[in-house]
Point group: D2
Chain length 335, copies 4
């Protein structure tokens, strides 16, 4: 009989916390041993009525010591700043961590420019950026994973295969479209149904915090990354339309297919990709088309799954030496 690996969630209330629960409840090797949010005092199915009759575990008030006693690995589905306050003590206690926040994704200087003062620079030295297609080997031995942002995941996976054929010093345009769940559960005018339904708009053009994350991980000068996110009236899903300048003579489709031929969580399509085919899965679906020197790359992910929770579980699987896609569904929410 297999001994299960004990895992925990701190931050079980939000959308990504719910997605984590949905995956971990039936994970074949992980045992959900600790579930916490900022207040505690409820059960999982009270917090998320969709899980009624499925999971009635207690949701505890988050506590470092209790977490450390209960888990081998913990997922921190927390906002930035809150997260590093947990990472620091949990790392000391030897707990492996997959952190959903931005706290360990950037170099300290850029982080402090875009977010706030960093209170745990030591662990910034040890973190691995949890994009398996880029850092699979490093993830295997990591104790702390910075789980990528949703926009960076879709943008980087779309751009990676073409970094070599890109014409240097030309602008990269990332026109991204995201569903509303990406904004999290906090109430705001811009996520109110009446404002979103039948509507669409850009927000934070050029200044969104995911832009420096894309730039740093791809090793491109920030000046060359032009990131414009848009909100669309969709619950989950993200589509990044990427435009770069490349050598006119490449076979873009072939480059893309070759690049990902061994990757189980990236699919290459000959028709434009869409959000539905990836909803509920860890897939990143990619389409590419060229016109002269301009390359159009369309990259689709589920912002809550490949852009957050399923990617986090994949990272944990790799860290723990089990099958990479263990517990993660590849059956989309279609039709």
């Amino acid at each position: 009989m297999t001994v299960k690996i004990k895992v925990g969630i701190i931050g079980a209330s939000g959308y990504t916390g719910l997605e984590l629960l949905k995956i971990l409840i039936y994970h074949p090797t992980f045992e959900l041993s600790y579930v916490a949010n900022s207040t505690g005092g409820v059960s999982v199915d009270e917090l998320h009525p969709a899980l009624k009759s499925i999971c009635a575990l207690d949701v505890k008030k988050a506590d470092v010591d209790e977490c450390a006693l209960s888990c081998d690995l913990v997922f921190l589905a927390l906002p930035h700043k809150t997260s590093m306050a947990y990472v620091k003590p949990l790392m000391k206690k030897g707990i492996k961590i997959v952190d959903f926040s931005a706290d360990y994704r950037l170099t300290q200087d850029v982080y402090e420019e875009y977010y706030c003062e960093h209170t745990d620079p030591v662990n910034l030295m040890n973190v691995v950026y949890g994009l398996p297609e880029l850092f699979r080997e490093e993830i295997k031995t990591a104790s702390l994973i910075a789980n990528p942002g949703c926009y960076p995941t879709s943008a980087i996976l779309g751009l990676l295969p073409f970094m070599d054929v890109r014409i240097k010093n030309t602008p990269i345009i990332i026109d991204a479209k995201t569903g509303v769940s990406g904004a999290g559960k906090k109430l705001s005018e811009s996520t109110n149904f009446v404002n979103v339904n039948d509507n669409m708009f850009a927000y934070k053009p050029f200044t969104h915090r995911h832009a420096p994350e894309i730039s740093q991980k791809l090793g491109i000068d920030f000046d060359e990354v032009n990131f414009i996110p848009h909100l669309v009236p969709i619950t989950r899903g993200m589509l990044s339309s990427i435009y770069i300048q490349v050598d006119k003579n490449i076979d873009a489709y072939n480059i893309l297919e070759e690049f990902y031929k061994s990757e189980a969580s990236v699919r290459v399509f000959k028709e434009p990709v869409n959000m539905k085919n990836v909803a509920g899965t860890n897939f990143c679906d990619i389409f590419v088309k060229q016109k002269g020197a301009t390359l159009f790359i369309s990259s689709a992910v589920d912002n809550l799954m490949r852009g957050a929770s399923s990617q986090a579980v994949v990272n944990a699987n790799i860290m723990m030496g089990i099958r990479e896609l263990s517990g993660v569904s590849d059956i989309a929410y279609v039709p």
Copy 2:
């Protein structure tokens, strides 16, 4: 090592065919051995690009002999009339069948009044109506299952616990709301995005073909069943708001909870139920509230799952003597 049971699908192109594929691809005991539609000549992932890299089985042109050679049990996800043309020869060959159409749900006279001439009255004698909460024992030994309609499933499960306390000869009002996938894949003005988005309307008031199905299975005089379906701008989901007259002194919640206390696929809620919590699952969620003699019952199912494909798989599981909910997900498509 367990020997798998070979199952097939005829009618793999539609929404319910896709849902069947999504369940059966990873079913622990069933092996998908035959997939067919009316034309053949494609693979599963060409037919449903969401299944790319997951299932590349050939989709055959439907053929009774080939099906019978390949399967122990077959799911017929076909429209009425087409279905009975397959049931008749497949039954002769001893194949077990779960039929999605209306062809075997009604008595011959009522069927012919609402649909068309019945060409297989013999098998009408042997069929079992596949609502496990009503006919679990009969399903165990059945060769032919008439899988219930989506509206009847939600309405009957809502009404069943209260049939004894209902005041005889009073009208039953079933005001049902369904997502657009219930109309199937056939193109029509009423399923065009522009006509559905931001819109809602009743259709076929009193005359929808699911009304006699509800009436016959509950053993109520058709005159007493008032069934009014509405189309809502939602892809999947069904909510039946049911109003009946009952003894004023009952404890409706208690009756409901008692009735379903041993049923794993019905959940009783103390707050009004919604469509999201059941999307992607086999659950029927039910809420009840009384005001004087009027009882309001709110019953939610996923029209493609509990209202079609997951219920079909549950029926097949029972027929084959395996765990009733084998292969069927209880994790909803939330948020």
Copy 3:
């Protein structure tokens, strides 16, 4: 040259305030002379960017004296309780009022049971309920109009023609569906896009505050009114599905058509009505169908227009002796 009638709005920030602005800006006889909300300090187009380049009037901090000096008639698009605090002093100053709140719609005892203590019982004596089809003559000479609630408008207009043929002491079922704008602009979980999109549910079954309003205005015992509202993923629109018991021998369509043959803002349809055809207009569209003694009435309004702002302007038109539908559009937001 016609002298214009000066009108004001207190409560310009909400959805109904915006609809009022949209109508009054181009009203041929009314001149928008006073616009206020609870804070002031902005212009109309800052408050509602859609009105940029159309209306840059100052939005004042609401003040009774300033309002009385500026207007002959004022629309109070305010929540209950807040509203009566303005009605009392404005009535003293002789300003005509159309009040959007529930404060003057009910008898004092029922109001206090459902809302809060009533601080202006005197004016409760003088108010007219602003449903023109019921009280057109009284509205002509009224100083204070209680503008009907959205649900009561659609329910009462649907029920009115059939009150004479209804079988006494049988239950009235009103299964109503509303778009999200009916909940107002206040942020809440239940109006967040993620919770509404692809979802539907009943809320406040039997206990919604519009139930006694329907009961009182129709003169029916409250015990006989069963009102169940549902939220649907639509911005604006309301569909009331009403079920009553009637004499089997009536010609329901004929009764309906006769009843409204002189009413310009009610349309009778031979096919089920929908929300889109009334969006943006003052129409109430009604369909009726009978099965035995059960009558199904389907009544559609735009909750923000016929259910609030356009009906308010119609009331003001009647009060001021000008053309009843002056300024009010009958061109729907289709497709």
Copy 4:
């Protein structure tokens, strides 16, 4: 008493035909004297039930002679190819025409490359492209107007102010998003609710027929125009996100504001524009932001109004020498 100008519509069945009807029914100077589609035999309100009790004009089977006898000006809301078959004889009869199709928007060679053989090259010589901000003077004396496509309208209006500061020979990226009504009324899988809801995808990347229209009207080499349209789950609305390379030292906002300071139908915003604020109006709302040499221009129109029917009426107003915005609403379909 003013003599009204008689106008007609050929192609009254589609979405743009409906929008034309909605405008022309109440146009203060135009009298709707002829309404036709391909079959005739119905009335306007039977064709568009939303217009019940508003317009019961006969819809005729389209006929050149009858049209010419009835109208001074006709709107052709027809598909390409069909349209030129009407333009040729109607021009001979001296009827003024606003043509919605692509038939007269392009030079003959490019038209024939993208569409089909051109059967009326003579009138290609006389046509004026109906974008008032570009060709107002020419429209005044034109007999035949090619009403611009929806995508070209939003793209050209966004790009125009910056053509002088654009760095030559750099790529123009137009990442456009459109609501589903842009696809017209014809049924197709890609406009079925189930495929559109919760989904988004690019279509016809680089090859959409509106790309050469944008290129020709702006006088840019086709190689430099990269046009990628996307379908979004919205009924009406279009948002073009445009990326160009410009001189780093410009003040983009100031250029934009100056350029359109005298244009009543273009609004310049300091915050990103959205689809809702223009829905139902003739406005084009534009926002601009610069990062280094990359300029992001966001341009929003209602695809059925500024992108079709209201722009057509504006063109007709100019041709007939009446007030440019006569009959055209500037009040948006918000909230």
